[in-house]
Amino acid sequence: MAGGSVSECKEYLFKVLVIGELGVGKTSIIKRYVHQLFSQHYRATIGVDFALKVINWDSKTLVRLQLWDIAGQERFGNMTRVYYKEAVGAFVVFDVTRGSTFEAVSKWKHDLDSKVKLANGSPIPSVLLANKCDQKKDTSNSTSLMDNFCRETGFLGWFETSAKDNINVDEASRFLVENILANDKGLPYEETNGDRIKLHQETVAAESKSGCC
């Protein structure tokens, strides 16, 4: 994964999954984060696998984050392996205004862990997002309960987010990326991808992709 090129600058490409129940705001969070947009209208984006966010992590590190939304269609919980393949991190989202979406969180987490693992066999880092916090009524909900839940379920941590008011979205992402970078040594499977072939059709001039991984 670590692609030390000629210069000191390291570039990373991370595939991050965004999963959770119907309507919890997965697409909204991605749009907010990547495109600085929010829309009240329910809109299913058709024909797009993932959104790309490029982060200048620090002076030496560039991170390209591919955020893979569940194509709404796969929401019946039957994503193909293509979706999980080589993911290195995940957000599991629920809607604070709908308790049932929180109850489903452990199912999603369990499903995730059964479908993809890091090379060393451990689960991929995942972060829990309590979305739509702008609509939350009681603030009493205990932080320690959530902390416990994360520990038990295997989340690195959790954030109260709002795609609408742009709360904590960047922070959550930064937190996840930090963890992915820390895991960098143990990324999926072999690093020797040199002889792998990708079929392309683009006629774009060769971008200098140093495909070491």
């Binding site: 947009l37 269609q73 193909t80 991984c213």
Partner: protein, 715 residues
């Protein structure tokens, strides 16, 4: 997660997630059809699936147990309207695999829970828990817990040391000491220490522990680099979901030896198996095969056996063997015309991606249907596994399907129904069978300097056997092992057809002498039906049945069938136009390259991207406003059911390039490879196969650097 109700109206309902069904699903969804894609199984790809080792063991288990249970069909007539009729569907495979046999050869202590009939040859103390009839050949003290009738074979001494706890009868049998003795005692002496170490390394328990890293295909096929499937993957952009490895060697088995077949120009010139004269003859022959007017050459032979044709051309025995078995993959009596067509295809496929004509998908063939499913889902298709269609509702007067009734008794209306084969219980009898074996071995059939080879071996025989050997970097097996697939048209059971080849090429634990041949750690034989013929004579005109995998090496038949079905459903639509590249899709209000967090975003979406309409296109219902992209030269797509757009921009492989058909003559090894990657029939050159010139060519432009691993760093 999966608790919601399905919508009750779709354009196309598809049952089964095999390759053909999945391609149809992607194609329909891509042009705006509302697709519901179901599979009654808990996994994708049906007969085309790949399993982890553990997954395969449970699958084998299932095949052995579910045969008996037949679901009673419910009465759905309440859901019918006036003038409607029901066609009931089978809810499980009519033509499952048969003759499943599993063999474990282990030299380390192991615990084996046998759920299918199995043979265990134990060289170390083992515990066998047998739930099915088993044969245990014990060469060490063993413990057998038998829940089914079992046979335990051991030498006298050992038999006393083996213990059986049985709920069923166990026959114990003594064997004479001689042969066994010899095999046992001389083994260590003959094996080099290193060999011994290598063999010791992997036990069955270790295989199971690492089981999830195996991806074992039920079907063994390869992709011709200019075959219909590769072309479709490229054309549709579904290729973005998959990565491939080149098959690096073509091998053949002759006089009991494995030899490398020289098939590319560089191979021919460097081959040590061929004399100078043979090299010249071979080059001349191959060149003439590529010639446009070959038909004239073989006119007299067209329907006569290819072997006669080769003999007529005075080709040496060496060359006859290579040309017949490995290059045309024919049998001695294949008609010349057929064999030459195959030869041509083979030659045309050389050099596109490497120096053999074949590619293999990382993680196994089961990836490919899933790639098409993902494309379908991305364009709005809805997926449900463990969900089946119980019956199809047919309008009597028009003989057309109107709806399906799913396993939850929900009536879902639709305009077209696509089914995998085997859905109709009545008169479905498999016509032809394929014999298959899957082996996990501890070495390659032809060890070489380069560790990670993917090889195809053709083994002449009454029913020619095709062997594909995969290395760990194909992501189908673990380091220290190879995954071997054997396939042939069935004459008898898979074991009868293939075990002679297995014992010839590999050491099984009961092999008597020890040599350099790789050892088999685990082995599984089964027969799979190939095509069911027509199941029902008068199908409704909007119901289509997809064929399952055939025994051939390539995928052309499957893809042709899928396109045919698509064209019947949507005669005026484009088949799998390119999907936009996600990185090219811009949203309103987004200004590329501005804003600190955006810096460097999408640096490689250069405007010269062609044929990729960024589309944030409407949901299937079409009520969404179009968000218009800001990229120049890219056409927004407004209608979900557009037809034939992006004709001039599409860089798909069809008909795009001017003809460049350099022939082989002028036999100097090095010429410009720049014609590659286009039109199969126009660039039948043997050049450019030298791996170093273009180890990883892409579809269109050889100068491109195509290697872009999923997680690849770029820059």
């Amino acid at each position: 997660m999966a608790s919601e109700h399905l919508p009750s109206e779709f354009d196309v309902v598809i049952l089964g997630t095999g390759l053909v069904e999945s391609v149809v699903a992607a194609a329909c969804s891509r042009v705006g059809q509302r697709v519901l894609h179901l599979d009654r199984r808990s996994y994708y790809a049906g007969k085309w699936a790949s399993f982890t080792l553990n997954g395969l063991l449970s699958w084998i288990d299932e095949q052995n147990t579910t045969l008996a249970s037949e679901e009673q069909s419910k009465d759905w007539s309440a859901l019918l309207e006036e003038g409607e009729d029901l066609i009931g569907l089978s809810t499980r495979d009519v033509s499952p695999v048969t003759n499943l046999q599993v063999f474990n050869y282990t030299r380390s202590p192991c615990l084996l829970v046998a759920r299918s009939p199995c043979l265990l040859v134990a060289r170390s103390p083992c515990l066998l828990v047998a739930r099915s009839p088993c044969l245990l050949v014990a060469r060490s003290p063993c413990l057998l817990v038998a829940r089914s009738p079992c046979l335990l074979v051991a030498r006298y001494q050992l038999l006393r040391e083996c213990f059986c706890f049985s709920e069923e009868e166990v026959e114990e049998e003594e064997v004479e000491e001689e042969v066994e003795e010899e095999g046992q005692d001389q083994t260590p002496a003959r094996e080099t220490e290193q060999e011994e170490k290598r063999r010791k390394r992997l036990s069955y328990a270790e295989l199971l522990k690492e089981g999830r890293r195996f991806n074992i295909d039920l079907v063994s096929k390869l992709l011709y680099s200019r075959g219909a499937l590769i072309d479709l993957l490229i054309k549709s952009n579904v290729s973005r979901y998959a990565e491939f490895k080149n098959v690096t060697r073509i091998l053949t088995c002759r006089h009991g030896n494995i030899e490398q077949v020289p098939c590319s120009r560089s191979d021919v010139f460097s081959s040590r198996l061929l004399s100078v004269v043979e090299k010249r003859m071979l080059m001349r022959f191959l060149t003439s095969c590529l010639d446009q007017d070959t038909p004239l050459l073989y006119q007299d032979f067209a329907q006569r056996p290819y072997l006669e044709f080769l003999q007529h051309h005075k080709l040496s025995e060496n060359l006859q063997h290579f040309l017949l078995h490995s290059i045309s993959m024919a049998t001695p009596d294949t008609p010349t015309a057929t064999a030459l067509t195959a030869t041509r295809h083979f030659l045309q496929c050389l050099g596109r991606y490497g120096n053999t004509p074949f590619l293999f998908p990382l993680y196994g063939l089961g990836e490919i249907p899933q790639c098409f499913c993902r494309m379908c889902a991305v364009f709005g298709g809805i997926y449900c596994l463990r969900h089946s269609v119980q019956a199809v509702v047919v309008d009597k007067s028009s003989n057309r399907c109107k709806a399906v009734i799913d396993s939850q008794g929900q009536r879902i209306s639709c305009s077209h129904v696509v089914l995998e084969e085997g859905c109709f219980t009545q008169n479905a009898t498999p016509t032809r069978w394929v014999s298959r074996a899957v082996l996990i071995t501890d070495g390659s059939v032809l060890p070489s300097e380069a560790e990670q080879q993917v090889s195809i071996v053709t083994i002449p025989s009454e029913s020619p056997v095709r062997l594909v050997e995969l290395c760990p970097s194909s992501m189908t097996c673990i380091p220290g092992t190879h995954l071997v697939h054997l396939t042939c048209q069935s004459l008898g059971s898979a074991f009868q057809d293939l075990s002679p080849v297995v014992t010839r090429l590999f050491q099984t634990a009961d092999s008597d002498h020890h040599d350099q041949r790789p050892g088999v750690l685990w082995c599984f034989y089964f027969n799979m039906s190939e095509g069911l013929g027509s199941e029902v004579s008068e199908l409704p005109s909007n119901l289509f049945v997809c064929p399952g995998p055939d025994g051939s090496l390539g995928h052309d038949h499957a893809i042709a069938q899928a396109e045919l079905i698509f064209q019947k459903i949507l005669p005026d639509e484009d088949f799998c136009p390119p999907a936009p590249n996600p990185e090219d899709v811009l949203y309103p209000g987004e200004e590329p390259g501005t804003g600190p967090s955006h810096q460097g975003e999408e640096p490689q979406t250069s405007p010269s991207h062609q044929g990729e309409e960024p589309e944030t296109s409407p949901s299937p219902q079409g009520e969404e406003p179009q968000t218009s992209p800001t990229h120049q030269g890219e056409e927004p797509e407004t209608s979900p059911s557009h037809q034939g757009e992006e004709p001039e921009t599409s860089p798909s492989l069809q008909g795009a390039e001017p003809e460049t058909s350099p022939s082989l003559q002028g036999a100097e090894p090095e010429t410009s490879p720049s014609h590659q990657g286009k039109e199969p029939e126009t660039s039948p050159s043997l050049q450019g196969e030298e791996p170093e010139t273009s180890p990883s060519l892409q579809g269109a432009e050889p100068e491109k650097i195509p290697v872009q691993p999923e997680n690849g760093t770029q820059g």
